[in-house]
Chain length 409, copies 2
């Protein structure tokens, strides 16, 4: 059961002028489920891609990078679930290229204008016959109003489709941002995106768009962790079609930019948090805030040490205020000159540890009450400086093991 997350209302998802979506049930891994997504982009869209830092990145990631570098513009995206096309060597690369070629033929564009994405099991060959056979149906369904179906078509172990829209008013003109994402496991901060596609009808010059994309990722998808594993296929694609008809923005100083950035970030954070809320086996949504760090990087190290600790995560699952585990995780963050005597720990509004030891007024029942909630805030103050960060994670339950032990069956 996801934590306070329900399927999006399709009516609440704004179409983006310049983006059409179509899907197929191609039977890539299992029959009778949406598993193939095609997105067609109008000519001239600004497209920025951020990809996994896993060195064993999948064939489609290599092809995406190559096609983006080619600079011919992007006219189509093709996404399959059920098979990651990773650890598949030269044959996998050929499959990803052949997929692009067929999409290009159907769309009437160049293969280098197509970006491929895959997600699913690693080290198995892409079932090309079924994938290629599904493409014409996906092409036939292309329409701007299909974001909800697109969110379904990219799900793997997700239990809930993830999609959201926001609007921003830029100098009197309303623009929309709509995004979809998938992912529930194998997720950690180095490009924790699994797959996410966010599009806006705002008009942003390519160079500025490339600058904006990592800022959005750093404050959203790079701040979540479910199990500390970085996928071979993680990809975030940001698309600005310009379909709203607004005058393009090309300068970081443009007064319209803050409102657009805010809407993009709201969509990205909502999707990122949705991935955690739907984390494999998750029963709690945990916000880890680290304050008083010397640098932001140090704050992030501490936050991730807490968010990655299996002992902390199982304690949250059990609603057991075994909070010394959080102190131990902080001690493991690799800050050599950490003075634990300055450390404060809070759980929601409960002051648990003062100056590195149990707070004299801390009562176990207060910790217990905080742990029982489905939404928990862990706050650590290091007393070293002014830097801070926030990371979102979930607990570690029996169900995580069950899902990952049975994933392929």
């Amino acid at each position: 059961m996801p934590v306070n997350l329900t399927a999006p209302d399709p009516e609440a998802l704004a179409p983006i002028a310049g983006v059409e979506l179509g899907w197929a049930e191609a039977g890539i891994r299992k029959p009778g489920r949406k598993d193939l997504l095609l997105m067609r982009l109008a000519a001239g869209a600004s497209v920025a891609g951020l990809f996994t830092r896993n060195r064993f990145c999948a064939a489609p990631v290599l092809v995406c990078r190559e096609h983006l570098r080619a600079g011919q513009g992007v006219r189509a995206l093709v996404v399959n679930t059920g098979c990651a096309n990773a650890g598949t060597g030269a044959a996998g690369l050929a499959d990803a290229r052949a997929t692009c070629a067929e999409v290009a033929r159907l769309m009437g564009c160049a293969p280098a204008q197509v970006l491929p994405f895959s997600t699913g099991v690693i080290m198995e060959p892409l079932p090309m016959a079924r994938l290629l056979a599904g493409l014409p149906m996906a092409a036939q369904r292309l329409a701007p109003g299909h974001w909800a179906q697109a969110a379904e078509a990219i799900m793997t172990t997700d239990t809930v489709p993830k999609a959201v829209s926001r609007t921003a008013v830029l100098d009197g003109r309303t623009v929309s941002v709509t995004g979809i994402a998938k992912g529930a496991g194998m997720i950690r901060p180095d490009m924790a995106t699994m797959l996410a596609f966010i599009a806006t009808d705002a008009a942003v010059a390519p160079a500025l768009w490339q600058q904006l994309a990592p800022q959005i990722a750093d404050a959203s998808f790079n701040r979540i962790t479910v199990d500390g594993d970085t996928s071979t296929n993680d990809s975030l694609l940001l698309i600005a079609t310009g379909g709203s008809g607004m005058a393009p923005t090309a300068s970081p100083a443009d007064a319209r930019l803050p409102a657009l950035r805010e809407a993009l970030l709201a969509v990205a954070q909502h999707l990122a948090q949705s991935i955690v809320r739907d984390g494999e086996g998750a029963t709690k949504f945990i916000t880890v805030a680290v304050e008083g760090a010397a640098t932001e990087a140090e704050a992030a190290r501490v936050a991730h040490a807490i968010a990655h600790s299996p002992l902390v995560k199982t304690a949250f699952f059990a609603s057991d205020p075994n909070l010394g585990r959080i102190l131990a995780a902080v001690g493991n963050a690799g800050i050599d000159d950490l003075d634990v005597g300055r450390l404060q720990l809070y759980l929601n509004d409960v002051w648990v540890a003062r100056d590195g030891g149990r707070h004299p007024d801390y009562r176990e029942e207060d910790g217990q009450r905080a742990m029982r909630g489905a939404e928990i805030m862990v706050r650590v103050r290091l007393g070293r400086g002014e830097a801070s960060t926030t990371v979102w994670t979930c607990d570690l339950s029996h169900e995580y093991v069950r899902i990952n032990a049975d994933y392929r069956s």
Copy 2:
């Protein structure tokens, strides 16, 4: 159920001249179990201590370091389970010192000649009244033949006591090495020892003993991981009493040293591997060998990335040859210039991935067969150089979550 690990035969544990052991059921956390251990050392023993690198180290670790630095020699060790005396601030330090003072009074030595050790729940105060009340009984039981009871007295979530002896013949004279250890969770390579005490009646000069200790730790306790969490209390103590009457060795070039080192390492590796075999919820014992690395540090990074991955560990639990997860873990090890096209992966005798992709002859049933065993060898060849390392770990099961969710109940 531990993996191929049974309680040691008490008859097979060699007494070490110069070491006496006594225990009590002090009721520190639960009544009716051995939870307090006293060890008395003859005067003149060489003692080396290696401690956790967790910055949030426990009060007894601080006191151990202080007393070893004082250089007055070590005459007694006191170990309690049930409470880690970590995250307890100044009060915890005072408790650790008071424990040493009482042991010193009973043993007729100086407090700075006593080393304290604690293991158990973090951030709870040591129940001093019960601990101090248990000490006279432990002192009364002091005898050289009590290694088996000592191994029991330091258990927490361990399901099997861990103890072993080896002998070595040094220039015609037989010396013994006997060790005990405890630990089953919160274990990772930076001093993954939890608590381990290894004693020999060989005579080794203090300076040489201090050199030897980290070599032994690096090839044993620092090569295991259960869940990637480093404890606040991890301690390894190596004791050379000289009780065998052999002429002391003081030089690294001493011809007797290799045989002694081999016996020490055999005991240390046996205890370290026993901790993994008894890893919380473990059903498989997994050896991860990384070869062909550019440096040993690089080999260790890759081995630990595999051994720490929850996705790899759940796949082993399920006997599911979802072996792409191992490739993904290698890709996450942070080797920026890794050429995945040179990577080979073997499971036992099965060649799974060749040159970064699935081996054309690899059959899933072969992988499945290898995964079903209780002892599994994962071998990765990186094709970058001549360095290699080996790490031992276990799988991640439902039971791990159950144990850690219920630990305090």
